[in-house]
Symmetry: D2
Subunit: 500 residues, 4 copies
């Protein structure tokens, strides 16, 4: 089940081209008079998890309201005219980078359905590994699907559940889902949060003015001055409900028991914001530790430690502190890229220009440079950045990567290239990789080095503490769609293409 890879339009002219993409951030709040404004702010803090589109659904006691827009949260959702269309004290929101399903407003979450018991809106981050199988079953029994989003499948399962309460229907539905997800849902009285049984995708609970909040990362609490309460546990469903007297009750349910949590390592390596705390661990510290361990595992004689901005900076700081080699900003980032440069003309591409980054020649010329990057996927960017260093006069260019080599696809919401496009699968050994990218030396952090950096202990092969299949091939869940080859029936997906 290979999903189509969106070959990033930025590949050829940006150092950001060769990265993985996460698709989503979620936010929800119940009982607050500024519900939609706070949701907009929370989504803004989660913008790094998805920049293609954002949506908010609110409920004002009478009616649900929805706004969906392509583009950044800050492009639309602080316009008073837009916020005014989202009244009420309950809201959930979603920001996405599209993987499954083309980008279309129709697919932008939260999705909404009218049920017999009233409306429900759902937003989720992650991916179901049996989504296509379930979709096929549902359509076979007379349902119509109007989006290509997995989330619609959840709505159908809720609608078809034989349970009577919305909570039971919701739990019934997600029990049928397999994969990694963090989900928020809104009904006429409830805000519901759910996290997958393994705890692959992150989801935290906070509080503002006594009102409950759920969001993907703690940075979305910080932006609004909310207090962190705890992580939603793996396999947990939390149901917050407004009572007739205005008070809020909180019910905790479990969809899976006795399964140890295995958070996704890539949240620490790349996705989460450095100021977030994921499953109790500082993301910044994890990255800096990775740089420290990298300096121990793969030391190098050099004059200057240069981060590949911005992802490589914490590890570079750690590497420099451990190695004693000075940390310098050898690559400068241009923050004013603008709209059309995002899709530059062929003419501009042809100049091979670097619209987003440039070498700080004064710190590079005549020096032995250690470049610190957070990860290498296909290696295409590494080639360009090494060349940029050599053009600026570097005498040696060494690459140190603060995570292990990537060999396997992700099926839990991270957009990975075809495995045969991955650098680690294209070359026999690290020396061949090093020659291909043109470096003087190349080293990756070991899997144990990364485990120690994040969690303080080596990997337990019998019961790995984290989700790490992209490095190891050990998937934490079944992969029903993949093994059932559901995707081989071309009629069942992407039948409708809609422009945004």
């Amino acid at each position: 089940m290979e999903r189509p890879v969106t070959h990033s339009r930025e590949d050829d002219f940006s150092l950001d081209g060769d990265t993985l993409h996460e698709e989503c951030g979620v936010f929800g709040i119940l009982g607050h008079s500024d519900a939609s404004t706070l949701t907009a702010l929370g989504l803004h803090a989660l913008q790094h998890r998805g920049q293609e589109a954002a949506g908010i659904v609110s409920f004002d006691g009478r009616q649900f309201y929805t706004e969906k827009r392509m583009g950044l949260v800050g492009d639309h959702y602080t316009d008073p005219a837009v916020l005014a269309k989202l009244p009420g004290t309950m809201a959930i929101g979603h920001t996405r980078y599209s993987t499954t399903g083309e980008v279309a407003l129709r697919n932008v979450q939260p999705l909404f359905a009218e049920l017999e018991a009233g409306g429900i809106a759902v937003a989720h981050n992650g991916n179901f590994t049996n989504g296509l199988t379930l979709r096929r079953q549902i359509i076979a029994t007379g349902a119509i699907c109007q989006s290509t989003s997995d989330t619609e499948v959840v709505l159908h399962l809720i609608a078809r559940s034989r349970h009577s309460s919305t909570t039971d229907r919701f739990i019934d539905a997600i029990r049928q889902m397999e994969g990694g997800y963090a989900m928020v849902a809104l009904t006429r009285t409830k805000l519901i949060a759910a996290r997958d049984p393994v705890g692959i995708r992150p989801l935290v609970m906070g509080e503002l003015d006594g009102k409950p909040i759920f969001c993907s990362e703690t940075c979305a609490l910080d932006i609004i001055g909310a207090k962190y309460i705890r992580d939603v546990e793996n396999g947990e469903v939390i149901i917050c409900e407004v009572q007739p007297d205005g008070s809020i009750t909180i019910e905790e349910r479990k969809t899976a028991r006795n399964v140890p949590e295995r958070p996704c390592l890539f949240e620490y390596v790349y996705f989460a914001r450095p100021d977030s705390v994921v499953s109790g661990r500082s993301v910044y510290k994890a990255r800096k530790n990775a740089g420290i361990n990298l300096a121990k595992e793969a030391p190098v004689q050099a004059d200057v430690v240069v981060p590949v901005p911005d992802g490589g900076t914490p590890a570079a700081i750690g590497f420099a502190q451990q190695s004693g080699i000075p940390f310098e900003l050898g690559i400068i980032r241009n923050h004013y890229v603008g709209r059309t440069f995002i899709e530059p003309t062929q003419q501009i591409r042809a100049f091979g220009v670097r619209l987003k980054h440039s070498a700080n020649r004064a710190e590079i010329a005549g020096k032995r440079v250690v470049l610190i990057d957070d990860s290498i996927v296909r290696g295409t960017t590494s080639i360009k950045i090494i060349q940029m260093m050599r053009d600026a006069g570097a005498t040696e260019v060494h690459i140190r990567v603060a995570s292990p080599m990537i060999y396997f696809s992700d099926y839990y919401g991270i957009d990975t290239p075809d495995p045969d496009k991955l650098l680690a699968n294209q070359y026999a050994d690290i020396n061949a990789m090093c020659r291909y990218i043109g470096a003087d030396s190349l080293a990756f952090l070991s899997i144990d080095g990364l485990y120690e950096a994040v969690g303080g202990a080596k990997r337990n092969p019998q019961a790995p503490q984290f989700t790490d299949h992209y490095f190891t091939g050990e998937y934490p869940t079944h992969l029903t769609d993949l093994h059932g080859r559901t995707m081989s029936d071309p009629r069942q997906v992407s039948l409708l293409k809609e422009a945004g």
Copy 2:
């Protein structure tokens, strides 16, 4: 079942304010290499049937494509970039003026669903009088509805049908629908057209380069040089299918038999374009005949016959020819209204100015004027236009209306005000109406006069030849939603409000 009335924003400053609105025009074509372009042109010719939004769905042998836009067809659908997103040799399109369901892109037709047998797209003009009842039943059995459009109900009925062929499923679905409709649908190989059992809404079949076309009015055939074949009969379903060898087969089915056709009189009075031929009768001639009959029924001593543009012009020509009173353009229309004037500021409203029409003083001053209008709904516009004539120096102002008084709501796709807002229901007799609007005399065409103008014979009270309930109260179908009070459950509709 009173539908919410959209109080036209133009009420206070335009002579067009006091009119009825039809919601839709439809168009479909099969097997033509320019399918989406021809659909855009056809919808443009049908633009008078709905100006709020337009949508097109095409199929290219692999995939369905859809584009939906608020605004005029000519605002979007000749942009090559837009047409390029609609490849394929099969397409259907829809242009709408919203009545049921708020205006939202989500509600813009055609609607699309993935079925087990493949995708289907549906567009329709009209209204189902049991749509809410059916929607309620469907939701009660586990379906989710994502729009507030009646058309979605048709899609659900098709998906749930126990028949196996798409054609049988489609017929099964529309047999459950009650009301007035003209519908086109597109599957992976078929273009389907269907007209309600009574034939309330119009639908014609044409041909271009040997390829079948269905559209609401003949003017959509004329614009692309297509040939008129015949009207789709009341209660008929026509299925055109592309065969593997590229040939097209045509199958004719009946959902109702032995029911005489009763086309809607208002198509002749107001909605259809004057150059269209509806159910075999020239719309222009019908209107001119109405003016001739009006001059016979309600003659008046006057110096000049002035049409209320543009609807009253054909009747005014007939009235002038019959009466011998000269026809003159006493009211001039400004064609350049622009975007923001459509919603003028309070300051501009306050000037009471006429942004779209003005008196041609030289033809009015010192004269006895007969104004010819196509219809009077609430009378609000009549007041303004009579005042405009007096301000320009008319010595007498007589109103002659080329249709009978309107007493009843429509439930078949025409947006009518609350019955108690209708002029005919607010005043005891025609003299009181005449005083209210400020005219020197007022007369309406009789129902028999209109029947003769359109069909050549008086009304047959036992079996009326036309749909005429707005004048007579005799509805041609059941009104299940109205009598079942389905709308009284507030949770079941309009739960989600979405901005366009």
Copy 3:
């Protein structure tokens, strides 16, 4: 001095393609609290004089404000946010169709200059026949020109005048200008209006709430309920000034004496709105009279009189009344053309479709048709409309034109094609023209027939009562630029091309 002809983009798909274009309408008001709103409304009523761009300048006692926009007045100027940027009790405005000077916001009037005595804004309709000669002289003495508009020349002449008062400077400047113009200007205390010595272009004075107004046509007074006072005379300058006590003084000056007025015949034939009164004569009556005279001069046996909409309608009414042949709407106009259809794709063009007009087949088929048009320029549209009539089944198609043949270019603000593109110059006689356009017969109104229709008397060859050079070659002013070949120096004009 041949101006570049803008080959209308509509040529190939609209009946409006073969027309002349006027470039401007002007409006000004002094001392009214709703100055900019009234100016917007006045410009809206003058929209038929130019649809490419509109601008307004206001003054609030401290500062001048300007807004310029491409597009219709109603697209921008009733947005409260736009009107709020134009505060003050004095304003002038301009709506333009571009001829001289490319279309660029830089060229959109009113133009403004800071003078030593304070700012001045100027808007004008018309064209200077010595504008390029003066521009050359000015640049030679150290001025810089930032637009390609003739109006900038007026500003330079005002700035350079040796007179001290602004009024004297203004009169000094326009005394140097030659050609046809109607001008309004705004200073910190004054509203000034000026009309060329021959009175080619129209300009009227009105009053609202005791405050003076100047505008191109009376229809701009009617829209705001203002009272018509009188025409600005040919060669007259009227200066309205706000006094410190708030009262308004009015001074009348003459730049030319004892020159009889010769208004432009084309205002009556084509440009002015039918409800306007130009130089005391109803435009609608003039056109209808032209139709009556045409029926007398060139009668024809036919079944139906069909106007070419909308310009030919009044003449067709006159022709029908005089001839006794019935007047019918044989051509239907689509009012919903939209934005992108204005520039249709090649694909749509290729269908040869008529996006704006269609034949009303029921009134044409089997009939002898007399088409009445207001004018024929190149004949390209006539070919298409005659073909459209034949396609709809007309047995004969006769063309009657309510103005004489056009042989000569205009230099006073009307955009005329190269003389050798004019139908009248391409064929030896009227029979050849008739064959070229494909009609069964063709006739034009005589020059005396037009003079009588407009002014009640035949043309006086010694002192023609109207400006009529396009028909006769007799220009009412010098043509300095043309004879001096100023335009032959390519460096002096159009050096800068700016996109709007």
Copy 4:
């Protein structure tokens, strides 16, 4: 002569609020087939010098072309449709942050004038200290000014010069100008560059494919792979001319001799990009040196060195290296701010949220923090950032500023607040300032410390090596407008307000 201060809209919610603004970057190229594309790229690299608007003028051998747009270079200038409107092998461009003159497209540079000898376009960075005086003189002698830009004055002086060659006219004009400027100009055959006599504003010369380039900073050469040749000297004019055979000649002229260069210190402290080399000195190294010197001058006991991003980062690296205290990213920047968040609603403001920055709590809590900033202007941001650190749990917060205290206004193109708004002028001593901003300690780099960091030697009081009046009050040129109080005549400036 106090210029109106644009109170930054970001003051209340961003750490970037309390900064100075430079108004412009310039770029020009001659003889290259991709002239306008290269100009767009160069302006993109100079985007940090001005983000409000950008303009390009090109010449194709026949005609000049111009495009001006509000917003970022990358928002408009890689659209192929826009670049296609700028043909030719010669172009100049400009990116601006507005100070003098309201922001209006009319004021966006390059400005263009038709002269007798042909057209000329001019773009400049800087400000004339006698611009208003000259403008007044010019208007008094009959010129008209259409913008409020100083650059228009240069055009007038060129137009009025008694010299015959364009080069001589240009030099004649700039010899009359006083102040700080870096200018590029384009005629039909020449690209001209000029730098003010003192060399306040930067301007460098480069070469690509043998074709000359001028631009504000070397980073604009790097982005297109061009080679740095040399700085344009203070008081130098360089004229590059295309010869009829296609070769390019280069002429060097001097408008001032024997004046030592005094580049603006603030280019090193704040404005220039860290990877640029200004007057032969690496900006990054100068900033890092300032941090080193700051650690020597004002050491502090602390646990962590935290840069105020992004300006304070190089100095923080230097401070950390010198002091041995670890450098950590204690403040995280959100790069996805979007359009509407730039002007947040009152509701969002009220949350006191930080849309662009947040504390990295894990690195701050329980620590003694040294914040390193590049400069302090009013101190408003310092208050917020110190509070943010305390909220995140810092036990002590020390501020070290890598430049001296600012006491005086700039008149050479930097937008400074009223002197009495400057922190240094509001409090008696540094202890009072420290209390006001809420820090535990506060220290600024000394003027000698900054001179040494940038130039390697202490300040020479008799002949200062740099422009440093904002710190010292010693202005390097006359301030004619200021002392002549030209601005006191309210009629002479800003008479026309135009919306962009």
